[in-house]
C-alpha cells in the first residue's frame, strides 16, 4: 500500500494520508445497518404491483380480493394519495412537477413503462404480500409504446402526455402537444464561418442505450406514521433532506412532521436521489398504524428505477491541418423516460468544455419515451455527450495524422476560457491531466500484437457545492463528535472528518463522525454531484474554525486575559500572553477540553454552508484493448486513469472513485444496455443479462492523481466521483478503431455490435 503523501499535501498532517475509515469495522463484520436490514416492532412487509405493459390506460383497479386475503392489512393505489397540486417540488437536484413525481411513484390514469407501479400491499409477511399482488385485478387499455428517441420526436407519434408541449429555454411552448419536453441551444462564434475555415470536417451519428447505475443494494423504504401525525422514514438514500421534501409534499405534511433517517446505503451513483418506495410505505403505514417496510427485487430495480438516458447524437467537427479545431456542432436527443427531465442540459454544457473552440453550436432535446423515468447517473449526461464529441475528435486526429493527446493539448481549455454556455473557467487542471497522461509509463510504452489497439479520451464535469451542515461537540476526552447530514456512500465520513482534524490540528482518530437524521443536523444536500467531500469538508472546516474560536474564548476566560490575545495554533495548542511571572500561557486542546465542563460548559461548533463555488474536474484516460474478431469480444488489456482531484484528501478513496468510475464506464462501453422488444418489454431485467463488469473483465486500473488545488475551497478540493465515468467509452472506441480499423457508432460496443460492424464492413 502506498502511504506517502503527495508533494501537494506534505504541508498537511492529516490530509493526504490514508486512515482506515471510521465506519470500516461495521462494514467488514456485517454489523452496518443498511435500509433493508431494519426491523421495527410490529413491522409489516410491503410489495408493489407493477404494470406488464409499456403504455396503457388504466380502466379500473379492483383490490377487493387482495384486501380479503388473510394477513393483508392494506392495499393502496394512486387515488388514495392526497391530490398532488400542479406545483414544483425540490427533488434534491432541481425541481420537478409534483404530479409527475407522484405518478412515477404510483400510476394514476396511465402506465408509461413496463414495471410502472400500480398498487402496493402491506401484509404480515412478504410471501403473503406477494400472493396478494396476484389477486389485484387491473383492466388496461393497451396503447402503442414509443421506445426510440427519434421516433418519439416525430410529429404524429403516439403521445405519452397529452398536456406536454415543447418548451424552449425562453419560456415559449410549442402549439402542438409533443413528446419533446424541451429544447435548449448554446452557441458561440459563427458556426458556418468556423466550418469554412476547416480543412477537414468529420460528422458522425451515435446511438447509446439506456444504462443503469447498477448499485448492488436494491431500493428500500420503511415508514412509521404515528397516531400524532408524525412520520418517520428510514431509507437508503443519497439525500435524506430531499426525501423529506418530496415525501412531505406528496403526503401534504409539513416538513417538520417528517423525520428521515438515512440508513447505510449500498451504492447510488445518482439513482438513489428520487423517491420510489418511501411515499408508498408512508401511506400503507398511515392506513395500518404500523411500521411498513418495502423493498424492491432486482427486476423491479431494472424495470422501474434509474437508468441514464439512451440517446441519439450527431456531432460535426472541423479542424485545420495543424489540428486547430475551428468549429463544432453538437445535436443531442436524450431519452428522459416516462416523464421529462433527462440530463441533456448538463450533457450539452459538458460536451465541448475541455476545448477552446471558437465556433460552437449545441442543441439538446429532452424527450419522453415509454421507458422508466431516468435518474441522475454519475456525471449525468456527460458520458453520452462526451462519448460523441471525444470520438469525433479522435477521428479528426486520426484523419490529420496527429497524436490525439497533442491535438487535445493544442486546443485545450485553460483558465479564462469560456464555454458555449457562458461559463468561464477558473484554475483548472485540464492541461495538467493531458500532460501527465503523455508522460505516463502507459502512453510511453509500445503496444504490440495483432488486433490490439490503444485509445485515449478526455472528460470534464462541473462539480458543485451547495448546502452542507456539520456540528461538532467537543468531549471531555478531547475528541470531537462530528455530526453530518451526508449519506456516506464511499468513505465521506473519513474525508470530511480528516478536514476537521486537519483544521483543529488533532489526529484523525480524535474526530468521530456520525451520519444522522434530518431532525439532528442542518440542511444538507444530496451525496451526489461529487459535492460531499467538497462542501461537507468545507462545513467541517468552518465548524472546526468555530470550535477554534470558542476554545480560544474559553482559554481567555480561564486566564482572565483579552480574547484577542489568545491564539489557536495549528498544532492544537492554545496560546495566550505570558503571565505576571513571565511564564508562557498555553494549553493543549485535549487539556482544555477536559476543563470545559467546570469552566462554563461544553462547546459545540456549528457550520451550515451554502457554497456557490465550483471545482471543475478533468480526466484523461488511456486504454489498450484486444478485439477477438471471431466473437466480437473486447478485452481490456491495460488501463490508466489520470485525474485532477484538486487536493486528494484520502488518496485511497480518490483512487477508488477513479477505478470505480472506469469500471462503470467500461461497462457502459462494452456491455451494459437496456434491451427492449417492440412491445416495450425489457428483455434483460436481471444481473445475468444486464451485464456489468466482473473482476475477471478488468485488469488492475492504474491511477495518477494530479493535484491542481481548487482556489475556491479551503483545502483545494475538487469533486472526484463523477468525471472518471466519462472518458472510458470514447477511449475504448478509439482503441477498438486502432485495433481493427472499425469506428463504432453505438453504445454498448457489445460482441453483437462489433460482429455486426465487422461483418458488414464497418466504415
Amino acid at each position: 500500500m502506498v502511504t506517502a503523501q503527495s508533494p501537494e499535501t506534505e504541508q498537511y498532517n492529516v490530509i493526504g494520508t490514508r486512515p482506515i475509515r471510521p465506519d470500516g469495522v461495521d462494514k467488514v463484520t456485517g454489523a452496518a445497518q443498511y435500509g433493508a436490514d431494519l426491523q421495527l416492532p410490529g413491522m409489516l412487509a410491503g410489495r408493489v404491483l407493477r404494470s406488464p405493459h409499456a403504455h396503457a390506460n388504466i380502466k379500473s383497479i379492483d383490490t377487493s380480493k387482495a384486501e380479503a386475503l388473510d394477513g393483508v392489512l392494506a392495499v393502496v393505489v394512486n387515488a388514495d394519495f392526497p391530490r398532488a397540486a400542479d406545483q414544483e417540488v425540490d427533488t434534491g437536484e432541481g425541481s420537478a412537477n409534483l404530479k409527475w413525481v407522484l405518478d412515477n411513484v404510483i400510476a394514476s390514469d396511465k402506465v408509461l413503462y413496463k414495471g410502472h407501479a400500480v398498487a402496493a400491499v402491506a401484509a404480515t409477511d412478504h410471501h403473503i404480500a406477494e400472493d396478494a399482488l396476484e389477486l389485484i385485478e387491473v383492466e388496461y387499455e393497451v396503447l402503442t409504446p414509443v421506445l426510440d428517441v427519434r421516433d418519439a420526436m416525430v410529429d404524429g407519434s403516439p403521445l405519452l402526455h397529452d398536456s406536454l408541449h415543447t418548451s424552449e429555454l425562453d419560456g415559449s411552448k410549442s402549439d402542438n402537444a409533443s413528446n419533446t419536453a424541451s429544447h435548449l441551444q448554446f452557441t458561440k462564434g459563427e458556426i458556418d464561418a468556423g466550418f469554412d475555415e476547416a480543412d477537414v470536417v468529420i460528422e458522425r451519428e451515435f446511438e447509446t442505450s439506456m444504462a443503469h447505475q447498477g448499485y448492488i443494494e436494491t431500493h428500500n423504504g420503511t415508514a412509521y406514521w404515528r397516531a400524532d401525525g408524525t412520520l418517520d422514514i428510514y431509507t437508503s438514500t443519497q439525500g435524506a433532506f430531499p426525501v423529506r421534501q418530496q415525501v412531505s409534499a406528496l403526503m401534504q405534511l409539513s416538513e417538520s412532521q417528517v423525520k428521515v433517517t438515512p440508513m447505510e446505503i449500498g451504492g447510488g451513483f445518482g439513482g438513489k436521489i428520487p423517491v420510489y418506495l418511501e411515499p408508498l410505505a408512508a401511506l400503507l403505514s398511515q392506513k395500518t398504524g404500523r411500521p411498513v417496510k418495502l423493498t424492491m427485487n432486482r427486476e423491479e430495480v431494472l424495470l422501474a428505477t434509474g437508468p441514464t438516458s439512451g440517446t441519439y447524437m450527431r456531432v460535426r467537427m472541423g479542424a485545420k491541418r495543424d489540428g486547430t479545431i475551428t468549429a463544432a456542432e453538437v445535436h443531442l436527443a436524450f431519452e428522459a423516460g416516462a416523464y421529462p427531465g433527462s440530463p441533456v442540459g448538463a450533457g450539452a454544457m459538458c460536451s465541448l468544455a475541455p476545448y477552446d473552440i471558437p465556433n460552437q453550436k449545441i442543441d439538446g432535446y429532452d424527450v419522453v419515451v415509454n421507458k422508466p423515468k431516468t435518474a441522475a447517473y454519475r456525471a449525468p449526461g456527460a458520458p453520452q455527450a462526451e462519448f460523441a464529441t471525444e470520438s469525433v475528435l479522435n477521428e479528426l486526429a486520426e484523419e490529420l495524422g496527429l497524436d490525439p493527446l497533442e491535438m487535445r493539448l493544442s486546443n485545450a481549455s485553460v483558465e479564462g476560457n469560456t464555454t458555449a454556455a457562458g461559463m468561464p473557467f477558473g484554475v483548472i487542471g485540464n492541461v495538467e491531466c493531458m500532460t501527465a497522461a503523455q508522460e505516463s509509463p502507459h502512453w510511453q510504452s509500445e503496444l504490440e500484437g495483432p488486433d490490439r489497439g490503444r485509445g485515449v479520451a478526455q472528460g470534464f464535469w462541473f462539480n458543485i457545492g451547495f448546502e452542507s451542515s456539520a456540528y461538532g461537540q467537543v468531549n471531555g476526552d478531547g475528541k470531537v463528535s462530528l455530526v453530518l447530514g451526508s449519506t456516506d456512500i464511499g468513505g465521506t465520513r473519513a474525508s470530511i472528518a480528516m478536514q476537521m482534524a486537519e483544521t483543529l490540528g488533532i489526529p484523525m482518530d480524535d474526530v468521530r463522525p456520525q451520519v444522522v437524521d434530518t431532525a439532528s443536523v442542518g440542511y444538507t444536500q444530496v451525496t451526489g454531484g461529487s459535492r460531499t467531500t467538497f462542501a461537507g469538508g468545507w462545513a467541517a472546516y468552518e465548524c472546526a474554525m468555530d470550535i477554534r474560536k470558542q476554545m480560544s474564548q474559553r482559554a481567555a476566560q480561564i486566564w482572565e486575559v483579552d480574547e484577542d490575545a489568545v491564539e489557536y495554533g495549528d498544532d492544537a495548542i492554545i496560546r495566550g500572553p505570558a503571565d505576571e511571572d513571565g511564564n508562557a500561557r498555553e494549553i493543549a486542546f485535549k487539556d482544555l477540553a477536559a476543563q470545559l465542563p467546570t469552566s462554563g460548559g461544553h462547546i459545540v461548533g456549528r457550520a451550515d454552508v451554502n457554497k456557490t463555488s465550483s471545482g471543475p474536474a478533468f480526466a484523461t484516460h488511456i486504454v489498450d484493448v484486444e478485439v477477438d474478431r471471431d466473437t466480437g469480444k473486447v478485452e481490456i488489456l491495460r488501463y490508466t486513469a489520470v485525474q485532477d482531484a484538486g487536493t486528494a484528501i484520502h488518496p485511497a478513496y480518490v483512487e477508488g472513485q477513479m477505478q470505480g468510475g472506469v469500471a462503470q464506464g467500461v461497462g457502459m462501453a462494452l456491455n451494459e444496455e437496456y434491451y427492449y422488444d417492440e412491445s416495450g418489454d425489457l428483455k434483460n431485467a436481471s444481473l445475468l443479462d444486464y451485464r456489468m463488469p466482473t473482476a475477471l473483465d478488468l485488469p488492475m486500473i492504474e491511477t495518477n492523481i494530479v493535484e491542481v488545488p481548487n482556489p475556491g475551497h479551503p483545502y483545494g478540493v475538487r469533486g472526484v466521483g463523477e468525471v472518471p465515468i466519462i472518458p472510458p467509452a470514447p477511449a475504448v472506441r478509439a482503441a477498438i478503431a486502432n485495433a481493427i480499423g472499425v469506428h463504432m457508432t453505438e453504445l454498448p460496443m457489445s460482441p453483437r455490435a462489433i460482429l455486426e460492424a465487422t461483418t458488414l464492413g464497418g466504415d
Binding site: 469495522v25 443498511y34 400472493d131 448492488i216 443494494e217 451513483f269 432486482r298 477505478q659 456489468m692 463488469p693
Partner: protein, 159 residues
C-alpha cells in the same frame, strides 16, 4: 395459499440454531428475517451477484438459491462469523487497510468468498483471485483494491 412451516436445526457461525422457516423461505430470507443475521445481503435474489454468499458445509453458496428447509443439519458460516470476537480476520483487516470497500454492500459476500479461496489456495495468482471472485459483483471499486486486499491477506506483496 397458506404456507407450511418447518423446523430447521443447523449450526450457524459455530452456534446451534433451531428456527421455524416458512417453506417458501430461502436460506437468505431465513438468515436475515428469522435469525437476524443481516450481514448477509440481497442484491439480486437469483444467484447473479454474490452479495448473499455464505459458506455451507465448506462450499460457497448463494444463499438466495438455497431453500431454508434444505439446511437441516448444515454447518453455515456468514460474514458475522469471520472475526474472532473483536479480533478481525487478516482478510477483514486487509479490506480496511486497502480501502477495498466503498459502499460496503458487496463486502460480506466478497469476504466469505475470498476466505474460502484462501483456505483452498493460500497463494493464488491475480488471475485465480479474479476468476474465483467473478461471481461477486462490486459496482463501486472496479475490483482493483479488492484484489489487492486478497493479495495482502495471502501474504503477497502489494504495490
Amino acid at each position: 395459499m397458506a404456507s407450511e412451516h418447518v423446523v430447521v436445526n443447523c449450526t450457524i457461525n459455530g452456534e446451534n440454531q433451531v428456527f421455524l422457516a416458512n417453506e417458501r423461505d430461502s436460506l437468505l430470507e431465513a438468515l436475515r428475517d428469522r435469525i437476524g443475521l443481516t450481514g448477509v445481503k440481497e442484491g439480486c435474489n437469483n444467484g447473479n451477484c454474490g452479495a448473499c454468499c455464505v459458506n455451507m458445509d465448506g462450499r460457497i453458496v448463494n444463499s438466495c438459491l438455497v431453500m431454508a428447509a434444505e439446511c437441516e443439519g448444515a454447518e453455515i458460516r456468514t460474514v458475522e462469523g469471520l472475526a474472532d470476537g473483536d479480533q478481525l480476520s487478516p482478510l477483514q483487516n486487509a479490506f480496511l487497510e486497502q480501502a477495498a470497500l466503498q459502499c460496503g454492500i458487496c463486502t460480506p459476500g466478497f469476504l466469505v468468498a475470498a476466505e474460502a479461496l484462501l483456505e483452498q489456495n493460500p497463494d493464488p495468482s491475480e488471475h485465480e483471485i479474479r476468476y474465483w471472485l467473478a461471481g461477486n459483483l462490486c459496482r463501486c471499486t472496479g475490483y482493483d483494491k479488492i484484489i489487492k486486499a486478497v493479495q495482502q491477506a495471502a501474504g503477497q506483496s502489494v504495490v
